[in-house]
Each structure stands twice: as C-alpha cells, then as structure tokens.
C-alpha cells in the first residue's frame, strides 16, 4: 500500500513519537503494540513492552493477535502470573507509561469503558468494563490515551460512568494520570489538572477541535502544527511491522 496515511496510521505514528525516551510501557494489542514497536525502531530503542497477560520482554516471531497469544510467550524474557503482574509490577509502580483506550474521556483524564446511556443496572450500551485499566490508571507514572473518534460524545464534560479515575488528590493511587490524549484531530497534553490542546493534526484548525470537544477546550501557549507521518515512518509501519495489515486495516 502507498498513499496518504490512514487514521490508524496517523494515530500510531503520533503515539510512537510521544514515546520518545520512555522505557517500560504497558500496552494492549493493536495500535499501542504497533506504536511501541515503531517507537523502538525510531525514538525509543530501549523500550520494553509489558502485556496484561504477564509477558515481559516479548520477542514474538510475528504480530500477536491478542495479549494472550502464545506467540508472545515463545522466546520471551519472562512470563509472570497475574497476581505478580498486578501486585508487583503495576501496583508496585514499575510501569513508566501505560496505554489505555476508552469510550469516553473527560478534561481531567478520567475514563469510561463501562457503559453509555441509561443506568448501570440497565445500560443502553454495555461496554467491556475495566479489565486492568483501573490499576494501570492508578499506578502508571503516566498514561497515554488514544481515541479513534474525537467528538463531543467521546471527549465529554461528564462521563456516563467513571471507570478509571484520574489519580488526582486521593490517597490510594500513586500514578501520574493521563499526560497525552491522541485523537484524529490533534494531541492534548496535560497542564495543571486539565488536558489542553498542544498540537493539531495536518489540515485541522483549532476552532474545529474546540467544536468537537465536549468541554470548553483550553489551548496551550503555543499550538504546534502536527507533522504528518514521514515516508520512513509509513514505510516501517507498512513494510516492516504490519505488512499483513492485521492492525492497519
């Protein structure tokens, strides 16, 4: 495939660039894994991915299709049982950067992956729930969130359900919360306690991002024009990392 970047490719490239200098990354399958793999080839050669299934230092012979794909285990540096992964690694504060997805995010970086509309007892749309997201949010040094849609229904003033709360001022959580929100329109970065627009993607203007955001969006002192994916970044994604377009589809 050639031609301009797809939304998935754009989001992957933006996420990979933000991983510059990061080392221990908690990533799910799909876009976060691809972003981490691209970062390893470009801006973060020492990156190490930890999977929720307990695999660390994976060296898979091909792209894994789930976090529990046995291809991740063959040749890996370690496989930890889940009590150790969640107790010692995540709650033990060994994660530099956690990748999380969600159906909704608010300005403080709290996430909803539980339900949309109706009530908890009778939701209109029931979603998968936390998985390990609550723990990753609570204890990763920072969290990156990638949203495939940027609308007032996904970047919301008020979450339909707070699944994974921003660590904030509580006494339990030890993590740093969401520091980057990457969307098809741009990148939001946290200033003080709030996510603000720090760069817009190619062809997008600030007014457009504001009207697509469900809270009164603040902008950083300078808003960068996001660099489109380079030919080299796209080549690595398309020809080296995911030639079968398992995730780039």
């Amino acid at each position: 495939m050639s031609g301009p970047a797809t939304i998935t490719e754009l989001l992957t490239v933006l996420a990979a660039r933000e991983l510059a200098g990061r080392r221990v990354v908690f990533a799910g399958i799909g876009l976060p894994t691809l972003a981490a793999a691209l970062a390893e080839l470009t801006v973060a050669p020492d990156i190490e991915i930890i999977y929720e299934s307990g695999v660390t230092g994976a060296h898979p012979a091909g792209l894994p299709t789930t976090i529990s794909d046995s291809i991740l285990v063959t040749g890996a540096e370690a496989v930890l049982p889940m009590p150790q992964l969640f107790g010692y690694v995540i709650q033990g504060q060994r994660i530099d950067t956690g990748f999380l997805g969600a159906a909704q995010i608010d300005r403080h970086g709290s996430l909803n992956s539980t339900m949309i509309g109706g009530s908890y007892a009778r939701p209109e749309h029931r979603l998968p729930g936390s998985g390990g997201a609550i723990e990753v949010m609570a204890h990763a040094r920072e969290v990156f969130v990638v949203m495939r849609r940027h609308t007032p229904q996904t970047l919301v003033d008020r979450l339909d359900f707070v699944t994974s709360p921003a660590p904030g001022s509580g006494r339990q959580a030890t993590g740093g919360g969401v520091t980057r929100l990457i969307t098809p329109l741009g990148v939001l970065t946290r200033e003080e306690d709030e996510l603000v627009l720090s760069s817009v993607n190619p062809g997008v203007d600030i007014a457009q991002v504001r009207s697509a955001t469900g809270w009164p969006l603040k902008v950083a002192g300078t808003v960068d024009d996001g660099e489109p994916p380079t030919a080299e970044e796209l080549r690595l994604l398309r020809e080296v990392l995911d030639p079968g377009r398992i995730y780039l589809r």
Binding site: T74, P81, P128, Q172, A173
Partner: protein
C-alpha cells in the same frame, strides 16, 4: 496406585457441579476450560454463579443455555474479537435471560482469588478510590489502614464451590503442570472448595517429578483430573495448538443475531454426545491449521544427590492426605 483421580469429563461435572453453585472457569485467554463449559451445558446445570475474570464466547454460550444466574467478572468483551452479544443482550435488558453482574477490575478479581486461596477475610487494593465501581458494587469497601490511618479499598475473598481450570498435563494423582501464560490458574485452584482440572495429556509420574517447579497445582487440592485434548479450543495451549482467531471473529457476528448462539449450541454442544464428537464436528482441518512446531526449553539440573541415604520404605507411595 493409592490416589487415582482420573475420571471422565461427564463424570467430573456430574459429580461436582450442582445447580445453584458458584463455579469458577479460569484461563486468561490461554488454558481455557472450554470443553468443561460445554459439558455443563450438555448436563443442563442451571442457576450457576460463574466466575471468570476475562469473559469470552464461553460466557455467551452458558448464558444462552440458561446455565447462568450470576456472573463475577472484570472484563466482559470478547478479547480482540468484538462484543459478547448474548451477554450484552442480557445486561441491556433485551433478552429473557437475567444475569446479575458482580463487577470488579482485574486487580480486584485477582485479589479476591488470592484472599480466597489464603483464607483471608479481605484483601486490600489501592485502586478503587474515585471510581464509580464501588458505588454500584457494595462488596468493594474502604477500610482504615491501621498503620498509616489512610483509607484503603478492600475486596472479599472468593471461594468458588468448584474451580475448573485447563492445563497442559498432569499425572494420575492430579499434580498439574502448566507453562506459558498462567493467569490465575494456581490461585483459583487453591481458592476452590473442589477442583476439576482438564489437561491435554495425562503423563507418567516420572515426567512430573523430573521438573517439580513446573507443577502449579499439587495433587492434594485436586478432586478430578480429566484427559481432554483440545479442551481449551478455540483458545490456545502453549506448545500444543494455536488460537482459532477466525472463530473468535466469527463468534461476534454469529452471536449478534438473536437466537444465533442457541442454534450454534443445538448443533455443536447439545447436538454432540461429548467433547470428541464436538471436535469431530469442528473438523480435523481446523485442528491441522492450529498446529505448532517445537520450541523446547533447555533442561535444568535438579541435582542427583550423591550423599549416602537410608532406604526409604514405601517411597513410591503417596503420603496419606
């Protein structure tokens, strides 16, 4: 042999799984007791509270079959394969199946099994403050840490009436060896009041004893061992077969239609006498497609002890339980 716990799948389920029980079926996308769930459906055992951290099509199947009253879980999607529509229909009030959901995060479910295994009254976890989950789940409660004076969340122990896991191999006594992604297999087994283990193969005692560190569940806590090749299918077993990704994707499509799961059960589960017939219906072509090659671990030296030892009468017999 003094304690042979090998039995048939039908026998193990009929003996230990009764209506109204709390039954854990664990395996984190790997070593999944899929065949055991099918047997529960064949025997029409209802009113169960099913514990499963990360749900998959097994839960759609058990719900459609009318086996499930309650679900204790921390993730109710279909891994990377989309939604679990039968479960969604139940939770969204669009079906006549009513499922009471007792919901946690993965950290919370793990803590519940660990507390259950160690017979602790509760287990502290530093991650629910500010979440809406404690507001909808009264079992997640704050207590005061007696050392710091700060609040910490706790979850209650989970002790299933029966814990069912799948693994690579076991001896006839029920010493279970597993490798690859281990999830909570050890913890849920120790938490269970009864334990059923399905394995790819039953092996000689010598095989187990040549590598005791690989044993994740000792025979003392196991009630039934069942040889059940492809018992995790469509989920994988490290070193035995791969995951049937296509089937996971197809599942969400098929389950989307109301009645779709029920029709599938009629053919593949209720329409087959046992796991062997089910596998025959799935077909050898699918199983061929999922074969894996060899990537053997290197052996380790446990050490042959050269110091003089007294004869041990009865050393080959099991110590009484």
């Amino acid at each position: 042999m003094t304690a042979d716990r090998v039995t048939t799948l039908a026998g193990a389920i009929a003996t230990y799984v009764k209506p109204g029980m709390t039954v854990a079926l664990e395996g984190f996308g790997h070593l999944v007791p899929s065949a055991a769930a099918h047997e529960i459906i064949r025997q029409r055992i209802g009113d169960l509270t099913v514990c499963r951290m990360s749900c998959d099509m097994m839960i759609d199947q058990l719900i459609a079959a009318g086996c499930v009253r309650g679900l204790v879980s921390s993730f109710i999607g279909n891994s990377s394969g989309g939604s679990l529509h039968e479960l969604r229909r139940a939770l969204e009030g669009r079906s006549d199946r009513i499922v009471a959901l007792d919901e946690y995060s993965h950290g919370g479910m793990i803590a519940r099994y660990v507390a259950g295994a160690a017979k602790l009254p509760f287990y502290p976890i530093r991650s629910y403050e500010g979440s809406d989950l404690p507001a909808v789940n009264d079992s997640i409660r704050p207590v005061i840490d007696p050392y710091s004076g700060d609040a910490v969340s706790v979850v209650p122990p989970l002790n299933p009436d029966v814990s069912i896991i799948h693994a690579q191999r076991a001896d006839r006594r029920g010493n279970v060896q597993a490798w690859g992604i281990l999830g909570v297999q050890q913890d849920v087994a120790f938490a269970g009041r009864r334990v059923i283990v399905t394995v790819e193969e039953i092996v000689d005692d010598d095989v187990i004893r040549a590598d005791p560190n690989r044993t994740i569940v000792p025979s003392q806590i196991v009630d039934a061992v069942v040889e059940c090749p492809f018992g995790s299918y469509p989920a994988p077993v490290q070193g035995y077969y791969d995951r049937d990704d296509a089937f996971f994707r197809e599942w969400s499509q098929m389950a989307r239609a109301e009645g779709g799961v029920d029709r599938w059960l009629d053919t593949y589960v209720r329409g087959t006498a046992d796991h062997e017939e089910y596998l025959a219906l799935v077909g050898s072509e699918v199983r061929r497609k999922l074969r894996v090659g060899e990537a053997l671990s290197g052996p380790v030296n446990y050490g042959l002890h050269l110091r003089p030892t007294a004869a041990r009468p009865g050393a080959d017999q099991e110590v009484s339980r």
